[in-house]
């Protein structure tokens, strides 16, 4: 639902308006997989599959009623049909202390008169060192026929999945990663991994395009393709034994996009460029019946474009009237950061064996300390009282959060 309004007037007449935006995918798929063990130290898997996709990239339903008149219509892009097929073969090999996974993935995508093909080699290596230390390295190439289209308008962030078409080429990427893992004591696992990923043909809306308006036109006219790059490091620590268990995951990352038609062709941070991303999950069993778990997540705020300054591009002056044509700017694309996201979820679980069944009460709290996590930014104008008591309209920027603290109770029984 994008908007809804209804009005009832004193003369008895009524007006209503509602707008719904939706997109969807329908798939019919089949696949077959084989396992083959030709010799000790080899585990070969191969197979293939085919999927028929029907996409509706985006449609707007308007329902307007005025007194007895009603206008209900669907404005939207045409359905897109495509067939995707893939074959793969991979071998898990054991060569002494070295474990290797070698694979080749082939895929094809038929849309309209266009048939895209791609061969994607993949390799993963894992070498065991003394003292429970393992070294890991991998290289993978990927092709993606369904693309994430992220709206970066600050008022209503929206993600859509759209297919590759005769005009929109499939996304291609390759990734290399390397790291080490070690197990301490009875079961504390620590791993550290660095990665670099390069993406080609990522898509984005063109500057000024709107996902909401102009849907009667082809959605492909509104998008452009470019390059993407991300890199970073991931730390993962997990404790699996004892009454208190849990894990900590931390990612330090950078994520950029570059399009010839956006930001003057200069590279800029992706909306989901998240410098720090941390998750901490702890579970404590007080006894066999009662346990408490908590999950705390933290992430750097989304990168958004916010016009923070303005300047004239034209001036007109006369004896009667003068003024400026001005434009607003934020400097570079996505140069502003929304407030960081963090929240704590708690859950108390109480289990009891009854005569004929096991019953469990679960008491939960989402966002336990009621942090106002921002969902989107609203640009508005407010009347602000001046020192002389008068009111003056001023622009204001507001962060809107939509999910406050949410308590929950559930009751389960097993018999």
């Amino acid at each position: 639902m994008i908007a809804e309004q209804s009005s009832r007037y004193s003369d008895g007449s009524e007006e209503s308006f509602s707008a719904n935006y939706f997109s969807g995918i329908e798939d019919w798929a089949g696949r077959i997989d084989f396992d083959y063990l030709p010799a000790p130290g080899h585990y070969i898997r191969f197979g293939g599959g085919v999927t028929n996709h029907t996409y509706r990239p985006g449609a707007l339903n308007l329902d307007v009623a005025f007194d007895q008149e009603r206008f209900d219509t669907l404005i939207g892009s045409q359905n897109e049909f495509s067939d995707e097929l893939f074959i793969y073969v991979e071998d898990d090999m054991q060569l002494g202390k070295l474990k290797a996974n070698l694979g080749l993935h082939g895929s094809g995508f038929k849309v309209g008169d266009q048939f895209y093909t791609s061969l994607q080699p993949r390799i993963g290596l894992n070498y065991l060192l003394p003292k429970d230390v393992a070294l890991k390295a991998s290289f993978a190439t990927m092709a993606q026929f369904i693309n994430l289209l992220t709206s970066e308008s600050f008022s209503l962030p929206t993600d859509l999945w759209v297919p590759s078409t005769e005009r929109i080429k499939p996304q291609q990427s390759w990734q290399v990663a390397a790291g080490a893992a070690k197990t301490f004591g009875d079961g504390i696992e620590v791993s550290l991994e660095g990665y670099y990923k390069k993406m080609h043909n990522v898509i984005s809306y063109k500057e000024g395009a709107s996902f909401l308006f102009g849907l009667e036109n082809d959605w492909q006219d509104k998008v452009t393709q470019g390059e993407g790059e991300s890199y970073g490091a991931e730390l993962f620590v997990q404790k699996k034994f004892g009454r208190t268990t849990g894990w900590l995951g931390y990612t330090l990352s950078w994520n950029y996009r570059q399009f010839d038609e956006i930001n003057g062709g200069r590279r800029y941070p992706f909306r989901y460029d998240r410098r720090h991303d941390l998750s901490l999950v702890v579970n404590h069993d007080f006894n066999e019946r009662i346990s408490l778990s908590g999950a705390w997540v933290y992430g750097t705020g989304n990168a958004v474009t916010l016009n923070t300054f303005e300047y004239p591009i034209n001036y007109f002056g006369s004896d009667f009237f003068s003024g400026f044509n001005t434009i607003q700017s934020g400097g570079e694309r996505n140069a502003f950061r929304m407030t960081d996201y963090h929240r704590l979820d708690l859950s108390l679980r109480m289990t009891k064996q009854m005569k004929r069944h096991v019953r469990t009460w679960v008491f939960g709290v989402y966002n336990a300390y009621f942090h106002r996590n921002p969902y989107f930014i609203l640009a508005d104008r407010d009347l602000v009282q001046q020192p002389d008591g008068s009111f003056e309209e001023q622009p204001v920027f507001l962060e809107v959060s939509i999910l406050p603290i949410i308590p929950s109770i559930s009751y389960q029984f097993k018999f």
Partner: protein, 305 residues
């Protein structure tokens, strides 16, 4: 166990009440905007066919600022490059611009022009542009009712054929018409109007260039080759009706910065006021400041109608 249960239910009930405020599911907080340091803002676009070059020198401000913008009559402007050395600017209050008069053939293709501006209260600014070479227009033809508009109407077609040179080039296409006829009193009436070009060619987009409507594009799709721009106009061209009527097609080779500025400015106005539109960054190329310094080299092709 029972105590824990009661405590948990009590705590959740209290949390429920605390979260069910007037508008519990929408929380709004003010954002602190970063401080903006005002800088000089420039609007300076020079075209080879015009010997008047106007430069607007003003300043930027925070969107929250209540201070007025300024134009600076005391700004010192130097424009340097082939055929323009030593030119001086004078301030014009009507449009707040500083103007200089250039020689008729001032524009030298492939040469660099530099704009330096000093104003006592702001850091000095500088921008450089390479003047593109004059575009090569091979032919312009008009075909009466030879085009179909996007909505299916038959309109006069204007085909503009150019020879693109190797390398990166950006074009703007504009049209204008000089008409002349003798009325029933034997008076000769002459006039002029702009011919607004439109096209179904997806590589062309609309922009306002030098205060007139234009179709603009990059040469990415036809680099180094000849290309025929198929355009049409909603104006009724007086084909064969008025002897002496001329269609003038103006093909301008824009510097990359000028092209990016015009394209982004059109997108900016198109998105203005639409909260669902993708953000638009209007292109700027001013070191230590904001705004645009851009150049265009124009070839004019005339045909009798």
């Amino acid at each position: 166990m029972r105590h824990i249960l009661f405590f948990a239910i009590g705590l959740l009930t209290a949390m429920s009440f605390s979260s069910c405020g007037e508008d519990a599911f929408t929380q709004i907080v003010d954002i602190e905007l970063p401080e903006h340091e005002p800088r000089l803002a420039v609007n300076a676009l020079a075209f080879s066919e015009s010997n008047a070059f106007g430069v607007l020198v003003s300043n930027s401000r925070s969107v929250l600022s209540k201070e007025e913008f300024s134009v600076f009559p005391d700004a010192e402007i130097q424009f340097s490059g082939p055929n323009v050395e030593g030119v001086t600017f004078s301030y014009t209050p009507d449009d707040g611009r500083h103007y200089t008069v250039l020689s008729p053939d001032w524009a030298a293709g492939d040469e660099v022009y530099t704009l330096d501006i000093q104003q006592t209260d702001y850091p000095s600014i500088r921008a450089q542009q390479r003047m593109p070479r004059a575009p090569i227009v091979l032919d312009v033809t008009v075909d009466e009712e030879g085009a179909l508009s996007e909505s299916g109407e038959r309109l006069d077609e204007i085909v503009i054929e150019i020879q693109d040179e190797p390398g990166e080039h950006y074009y703007a296409l504009q049209g204008e018409l000089d008409y002349q006829y003798v009325d029933e009193n034997n008076d000769t009436i002459a006039g002029y109007y702009s011919v607004w070009l439109e096209s179904n060619d997806p590589i062309l987009s609309y922009a306002e260039v030098d205060r007139r409507g234009a179709l603009i594009c990059s040469d990415g799709a036809f680099n180094g080759n000849t290309y025929r721009f198929a355009t049409y106009t909603w104006e009724d061209l007086p084909i064969g009706l008025m002897s002496g009527s001329k269609l003038r097609i103006r093909v301008t080779s824009l510097s990359r910065d000028a092209f990016l500025y015009y394209r982004s400015l059109d997108q900016y106005w198109g998105a203005d006021g639409n909260p669902f539109a993708e953000p638009v960054t209007v292109h700027s190329n001013i070191e230590n400041g904001y705004g645009i310094f851009g150049l265009g080299h124009t070839t004019i092709y005339e045909i009798d109608l």
